[in-house]
Symmetry: none
Subunit: 209 residues, 4 copies
């Protein structure tokens, strides 16, 4: 008689539930780190009970790695400019440098980075792999674009073109500061970034005559 009355509360489609849990897990893991996070925290952040979480994941570890995968896969890939486009320093800044600053400006992303770094030390470095899976294509694309810029005569060969990773490393100064908990004013960041771009311009711009 009263068989399904209390049972069917909040029965959501599995995929929705899983996403809710992963979202909740991200925030909690980000705030507390892996060990300090309790399943209860994740559950209640997802509007669920502990047991409910275990209906979708079989362990804390699995929640964690699923969450990292989900988050990283979420990120939109860099779009390569058209073959015809003229590659200038400005274009590189917009396409490759700006997204990096945007990532580091995002509190959630910083937290995710922190977690990945710390958990890279624990367990067998799975989460870091995910990150490599994202950054490698980034560097490869950047290399292609820079090379094309040189062919087009817009850019000049330099340490930056030989080792394109260097192009974005100044942004890591910002990242580092964020990771370590430093407070920086928006103005300071903007100034720093302006110098970064000035540097790229100095070094990469082809001498036109």
């Amino acid at each position: 008689m009263s068989d399904k009355t209390t049972a069917e509360r909040h029965r959501l489609p599995p995929q929705v539930r899983v996403q809710q849990i992963l979202d909740a897990a991200f925030h909690v893991f980000a705030e507390k780190g892996f060990v300090a996070t309790r399943i209860d925290d994740i559950a209640s952040a997802a509007g669920l009970s502990k047991g409910g979480v275990y209906n979708h994941f079989s362990s804390k570890e699995e929640i964690f790695s699923s969450m990292v995968r989900y988050r990283v896969e979420q990120r939109p890939p860099i779009e390569m400019p058209d073959e015809a486009t003229q590659i200038t320093v400005d274009l590189i800044c917009e396409t490759f440098v700006a997204p990096v600053y945007a990532v580091f400006a995002d509190d959630d992303e910083i937290r995710l980075l922190r977690i990945i770094m710390v958990e890279a030390a624990r367990s067998s470095a799975h989460p870091a792999d995910r990150l490599g899976a994202y950054s490698q294509p980034f560097v490869e694309k950047l290399q292609q674009v820079v090379d094309r810029g040189i062919e087009q005569g817009n850019l000049k060969a330099s340490a930056f073109s030989r080792s394109v990773g260097l192009i974005v490393t100044p942004a890591l100064g910002y990242m580092f500061n964020r990771l370590v908990g430093g407070e920086t004013s928006a103005a300071a960041v903007a100034a720093y970034r302006a110098e970064h771009i000035a540097l790229l311009r100095e070094v990469l711009t082809a001498d036109k005559e």
Copy 2:
């Protein structure tokens, strides 16, 4: 691993014990992070019983913060070059860039960084302050040296001299890789660093004629 277990024991002067404990604590915290570290681990790594540790520190939290302070204060400060010395790119590389790579090459330092990050997320960023206490003087000294190099006519004004922090940021690429758990061959690091130095040379060396 446990090579001091049977060695020196019993009734050490407190200062010695405290240092032993802090050293042990560093390694254990570095390996496991704050939450996963058990006092027992620290104790046995210090060749002591759990209770013995509590004779010198009153909580895990206190051990942790003492350890961070101790570690950071431990680090030797950068030595400023003589007034008379000619400031060249090479000298800057040796005095300012090389130590940064050395720090990031050190597994212990990477672990300490990781710890500082998590704790920045946990408590209200205390350990990060310590870090700022170290890096600020570094940047100030670097600024002075670069300015002097320009006065001497050895260096050229550029984004690097206006924002000297940029000079070392490429090393953060290496740090990032290390933090994220990436394995890099010594050769790859050397190559990366060579490009870093090449960049500095390109941008900073004054045009002599």
Copy 3:
């Protein structure tokens, strides 16, 4: 001692469990005092695991104070005699004196008293408040009854009627003996109580002529 260990188990409704725990807690606290009581003792006396106890209470302190409240609230209030009833010394003995002896005859009550005393010394006297909440109405009712007895011409004004608390104080001699661990034969107690009643009769009975 452990006769419910294998009996009812698993998944009891919380209210039932809570009562079981409070009952168990009472006996253990009563026997050992607050500090010497281990949660394990309470748990196994309640036929539960340590962790199970923490599902219902968040600390030893909370178990303790809940238990005291529960115990004191448990006690049945004194029932006032009918308006019409003739108030005699005998009636007072039955209604007010006998229950006091009954309380002090109960080992559990003596233990509860002991606990309340220590805790009065420890924290800031909370459990004692509970006790006052019980004894105040008792005295007030006694006062009303005695006054009525005098109006009715059955009782005589005296120190006992002006300060009705005195009426029961001889029972405290018994209580004191019990608290202090003295062993007294049932006969001795009966004799003592008879003298107590004799005294009340001597002093309170109205001179009829």
Copy 4:
């Protein structure tokens, strides 16, 4: 050379040390109860280190029982009135009732009582024996005095003279209140005590004609 320089600090005669320790122990036990008291507390209250205490006592238990013995033996015995003295209610109040109120008014005595009561439950009731050793002679003396008063024609036979313990029981109301942590104004106590004495006067005074 510097052999006895730091050694001989505060070397006191043993009896003095022992008394200092027992005094300290009393206050600490009184405040915290047996289990919650730490040897360290006693030691530092006695101006000594833990090890120092163990030079005079071999265990916490021994300190406790020595302390109780010492305290109880300290108390001055009741002095019997001269054979020739007229025994009146006033004299009984002064000689037997007043000291009881004095004891219960003393915070230290209340604490000692509490300890004895609680510890009577723990271990094999040793401390309570000490108390009996004190109260028995008290009652015996009171009996003799009352009997003498009746012979002298000053006092009247009554429940009080048959069971002299009853004479002081009203004071236990005050004691009970104190034990249980109740706060009572000096005025309230005085009033209560006046009623107590009034009662004694009513019941014990011989009808003179």
